[in-house]
Amino acid sequence: MFKKMTTQPVPDTTGQLKTLLRSLRRYAESDGCWYSISLGPLALILLLLTILPIIWLGWMALHDINWQDGVSHWEYVGLNNVVLFFDNHFYWPGLLNTFIFSISAVSVQMVLGFLMALVVSRSDRKSRLFLTVVFLLPIVLPPIVIGAIWKLMLSYDFGVINDFLGLLGIAPVDWLGNADIALMSVIAVDIWHWTPFVFLLMLAGLESLPQEVYEASSLDVRNAWQEFWYITLPLMQGTILITLLFRMVLSFKVFDEIYLLTGGGPGTATEVVSFSIYRTFFTEDRAGLGAVMSIFTLLVVAALAVFAQLLLKRRKQS
């Protein structure tokens, strides 16, 4: 057998190999190959890990899913999960809280961030750089660390905030354990966390405003207030609107800080939609119901995002 193999004509295979390599090379240099290499991974990931999961959630929503020894058992229950969803005691207060949280936190952030940017934009270069670095801190640190920091500072027994109040002769406040003020405390932490982000965007916006307009108008405006109202504010409208919409939609994602600070409690005082989904899915093991919640949340946020987009487009046209 060995002998037979050696009698085969040898040079042909190398020739074949060469043509194969040549055609491979030609394909590698062709447009088609580049299209599939450059767009393939993106399209595949978006398709398999973002679109497919939504369909998958829809399928899960129709089932009761139980895990036993790492194997899932699916039982078809029709629209039963949807009925359970409308009766859920966590999701609906959570949705309301999320709206309260987003609207109040973001509006305070916008006002504070804008005002500070106005002030800092007239400071000298050195202090601007220093402030930028300081204000970057809360933005780039892991949100869970922000949660840990405030858990330490807001503690009822030994938190430094209560110590400080004690120095002023004020009785300690149970910031995170009192159902009446827990949501307010969480909103305050979020304001602390994200005002710097608004500040940085606004500062960049202010710095890119055309100086000529200010020079041209310096004879017409009577005071700083008029300049702000008739010139700065209209020029900044675009930046303000984009930042507002951006923060609004992103604040719907809040999860990490709430997980660490209050766990949605006491009761449903600080429950938010992300936490309801997490609880239903991972602690209560009701995947079907969790899937219904996820789909509903996706619809709400998608509607908000599309609405924001339309608003921006209309503004651009006018």
Binding site: L42, T50, P142
Partner: protein, 278 residues
């Protein structure tokens, strides 16, 4: 804006306010950094003056019960690989989408869907990924975590890279194409060097996002691939909260971000601005 006839006193007051806010930002970080060097008893009595000890760090890193060092490694592996993949994929894709002929419905559709996905709360997808990944045995594996992090950060990468690519003049690679450069060669030899700063900015931001992620790691990992944010959270969840170790772990977990701020502050600001305003 130096041309305003502003009320000088008012300006001083507002300036003071800004510096107070900077202090309000800094103080909590200093407080937790101090807590990291306190014994539990010093934390519980919230004393300003204390003898600094290293016991929290020792327990965190060298104690047999603590997996913190291992978690740091996991975080590093997952963040670095997912960042590299995101930057490469999004740089190639945005070059093709912006600078080559692609049907309009495809490019608009990809960008629009990526942006919408970025706005959606991650937990909704994590719950779906959990069931899909458990069918595929990807729970608690590096590949599963990297895949999830790549997916969640890809929209931001795509957005940033395409913004940076728009700044590269068209003539440069059109000239390359006329000279007979293949698409791949044009991309790797001509476009990539031109968008280097943009890539660094993107990589810095994506690394920070991946390093900070808690939602995904909490639900898709267990002991073997647990990341730092999850282990910080477990200190806070135990029956007796280990504040000292929580603080020490938090302090260590901020180091990469702090280093990036010190050495790459320009890039991070650039990325943040490009990612949100444009």
């Amino acid at each position: 804006m130096s041309h305003t006839r502003s009320n000088h006193g008012f300006y001083r007051v507002t300036q003071l306010f800004v510096w107070c806010y900077a202090l309000i930002i800094l103080f909590p970080f200093l407080w937790i950094a101090m807590a990291a060097f306190k014994r539990q008893i010093d934390i519980l009595t919230s004393s300003f003056f204390f003898t600094p000890v290293l016991s929290n760090f020792e327990e965190l890193i060298f104690s047999k019960q603590s997996s913190f060092f291992h978690d740091l490694l996991n975080s590093g592996i997952i963040a670095i690989s997912s960042t590299a993949i995101v930057v490469l994929i999004s740089a190639m894709a945005s070059f093709t989408l912006l600078r080559m002929y692609v049907p309009r419905w495809l490019s608009v559709g990809l960008f629009a869907w990526a942006m919408l996905f970025h706005m959606l709360p991650p937990i909704t997808f994590v719950s779906a990924w959990f069931t899909i990944f458990s069918e595929l045995n990807l729970i608690n594996t590096y590949s599963g975590m990297i895949l999830a992090h790549v997916t969640i950060n890809l929209p931001m990468g795509l957005w940033l890279m395409s913004n940076f690519l728009k700044e590269v003049p068209r003539d440069l690679y059109e000239a390359a194409a006329i000279d007979g450069c293949s698409n791949a060669a044009t991309f790797f030899r001509i476009v990539l060097p031109l968008i280097r700063t943009g890539m660094i900015a993107t990589a810095a931001l994506i690394f920070i996002f991946s390093w900070s992620d808690f939602t995904i790691a909490l639900n898709l990992t267990a002991k073997a691939t647990q990341t730092v944010p999850v282990s910080i959270a477990t200190f806070a969840q135990e029956f007796e909260i280990k504040y000292g170790q929580m603080a020490a772990g938090s302090l260590l977990s901020t180091l990469p971000a702090l280093l990036l701020i010190v050495f790459g502050q320009r890039y991070i600001v650039k990325g943040l601005l490009s990612g949100s305003v444009k």
